[in-house]
Point group: C2
């Protein structure tokens, strides 16, 4: 008999098949027993019907508990009323293991209990749905870049120097010297962009930040494209296209999961390009008109980002930031050298910054000056300066955080649910 995954049941209507999975739920009603089985790709209801109270399948049914593992044989039937649209009339059950006292029951549990049992919590419907959407999101991101001529160029995690400051770096011994865990692949991306034109890296990044908010992870995944010859306007457009493509793909392929999460999809369907584009200074002005009292040079925090979301009801591109709040490599604005050509994109619905990037300095002398001004060790940046010596070109790029984007798409309050094993302040188990 054929072992079939639940997501493929539609190809096996009226056939006898075998499902391998775990008991998610059960209930009985008179002469009929219902078993909801999960196999990781979906949920299906199996029904056992008999006139005989002591039917052998009823006896097996009685033994089954939540998360018991089994092989279940039966015929696939189309049934509009059944969740998923199919039902199996069970002809045989082979019990693999009876699970005793699975700790996560349908009742409500505290977060610290669930986090300690993250390895089991993953089996819950809602967690499963979020991470199925994560899979789709990452696939969509990769397809977007692959289909648009970008070359995936993995950048190293172990790096000899800091990209943006040293206070939030994880350090480790690297044989006879020290190494730091990467916070961004950008500097290396700039080297590969000069070799491959359009590149992206996509890997885990690390920030040893002592902040305990619902938006911060210690270890998170980030995709970072970098494009030789591209300027600020080019990456604005690419950011928009990327975000629209992601939304489209998730809405197309993960509707069931969005329903499980009770995600109202209207706000996502309404996202359209061009996003509102506004400078940092204009943003300050708008915020102050709404009662804030921000000054030039201050960074946006969560309350400001939420307010911006309320004003625009769309993702927003903010550009032209004060040089002093951005990194040393940012290209100054020709007309206003106190501003840099940075780009932040804020998600809608108050989910805050999901993209950060901008145009990089391509002039060798200007870059050298900036490195000195920021008191960075020149020798660590020799190779980076080389990129401005040998055929330097204007270039731009950005980073998109996977987990923040996913939190937005799923309308999930806390980012800890958007990665299989979240790393949080003081929390690294399991």
């Amino acid at each position: 008999m054929k072992w079939v995954y639940i997501e493929d049941l539609s190809k096996h209507v009226s056939q006898e098949i075998e499902i391998r999975g775990w008991v998610y739920n059960k209930r009985s009603s008179g002469k009929i027993r219902f078993l909801v089985i999960r196999d990781g790709t979906g949920y299906v209801q199996g029904t056992i019907y008999s006139e005989k109270k002591d039917h052998p399948l009823f006896q097996k049914y009685d033994r089954l508990t939540q998360e018991s593992s089994l092989h279940l044989k039966g015929k696939v039937k189309k049934d509009r009323r059944a969740p998923g649209g199919f039902e199996i009339s069970v002809s045989d059950i082979k019990i693999i293991q009876i699970s005793e006292d699975f700790p996560i029951t349908p009742k409500k549990h505290g977060v610290s209990f669930l986090m300690k049992n993250r390895h089991l919590w993953l089996r819950s419907r809602k967690q499963n749905a979020i991470l199925q959407i994560r899979t789709e999101l990452i696939k969509a991101i990769r397809d977007f870049f692959d289909n648009n001529g970008f070359r995936l160029m993995d950048t190293p995690i172990l790096t000899p120097s800091a990209c943006e400051g040293t206070t939030t770096l994880f350090e480790t011994e690297y044989f006879d010297q020290n190494a730091y865990l990467s916070q961004s692949g950008q500097l290396y991306n700039e080297a590969t962009a000069m070799a491959f034109g359009k590149v992206y890296c996509f890997g885990p990044t690390f920030r040893a930040e002592k902040s305990k908010t619902r938006r911060h992870l210690i270890e998170f995944w980030m995709v970072e494209p970098e494009i030789a010859f591209a300027q600020l306007d080019d990456i604005k457009k690419i950011s928009e296209d990327l975000i629209l493509y992601i939304i489209e793909r998730v809405l197309e392929n993960r509707k069931t999961e969005l329903e499980i999460l009770e995600r109202d999809i209207k706000p996502l369907e309404q996202v359209k390009k061009p996003f509102p584009r506004i400078t940092y200074e204009k943003t300050i002005e708008k915020l102050n008109n709404k009662g804030r009292s921000m000054k030039f040079g201050e960074d946006f925090g969560a309350p400001e980002e939420t307010l911006i979301s309320e004003i625009f009801k769309q993702p927003v591109c903010i550009t032209h930031f004060p040089a002093k709040i951005k990194a040393f490599y940012m290209q100054p604005d020709d007309k206003r050298p106190d501003l840099v050509l940075g780009l932040d994109v804020l998600a809608s619905e108050g989910y805050g910054e999901i993209i950060g990037g901008g145009q990089r300095i391509h002039d060798p002398e200007l870059l050298q000056t900036k490195i000195a001004e920021h008191n960075l060790p020149q020798e660590a940046y020799e190779w980076y300066l080389d990129l401005r010596k040998y055929g330097s070109v204007p270039h731009s790029g950005f980073g998109l955080g996977v987990e923040r984007t996913l939190a937005w798409l799923c309308n999930t309050k806390h980012i800890r649910e958007t990665i299989p094993f979240p790393r949080l302040l003081y929390k690294i188990y399991p």
Copy 2:
């Protein structure tokens, strides 16, 4: 005028277009000047023809040096003789930057010089070709798993405990405790496989090994599938299918790059399934027949792997290893409890092990005994033991190393050329 990438020239025959890139090479012959431009997606020859010796384009041509950056305008012409099949008759050149004394010239350089200049070495034709194939390889791996129902489930890099021994681990402070950089996502994969059925993780892994061979990287990428309900035979088949799919995709889409590398593709074309399948003991026997003197319990080294390649001329699946040379979680053979159901796949042509995996212990008591026998701290494995308590099922998986596989596909002697920024013993710059 339209900015076009070289790989897309075939769509613009007879059109006036603009290329943005760098000078790779130049030569002149009478009234004609040839410029080979690279833009990261390919190489194209531009020709400038004039009767006038002081033609302004000739003057620009004279200034151009290796790696100078430029915009080049002209008409695309089909030309069978030209590398890539197209030529551009140049109508205008805009110089962005003249590059002075690019350190990597067509003459031969020493390896340590090239490694120090890795950020520039990437622009060389051969390095570019290897990494273009890397991009295709990774895409093929992801497509294979995505198209076969696997869910990507990223596993953490920062982990509280060691997966396989502690001697080769990078350690870092994680707030008030210690953390280690992951050497494998497997244990976490086992948790996600129970939640999602078929999963894979794909990320960087770290081994602080003091070995300086042409096969070892300190930081390398590995893809690791894990399948609930799968047994040893199932993953043998998946390994074969994966390897065949990878070869097919690279041969199909990266022929030009394989030609640049002068890779004889016949040995790759001849790979077919099923691969020779042989037990560890039979392998020892065969090696000893060829003059080695290996004893039961010894591990294969590079010379043995090369000899196995010579015997079979195909990738080889080796199984049923002595328990004592494999990890604690490996499922023992029913009939021979001193053997475990491990799986190694060796590439052909002497490239050694590219896949390692096997069937995992699913019995809770047996796993507990093994953890004790290996003197592992039980409390660190509580969550891992939970996976055997709550609906345990037989399951199997493996890991495939990206760089070793790529070295094989490219027939590249040293693994350091198979990743953009290799991390080697004592070498972490740039």
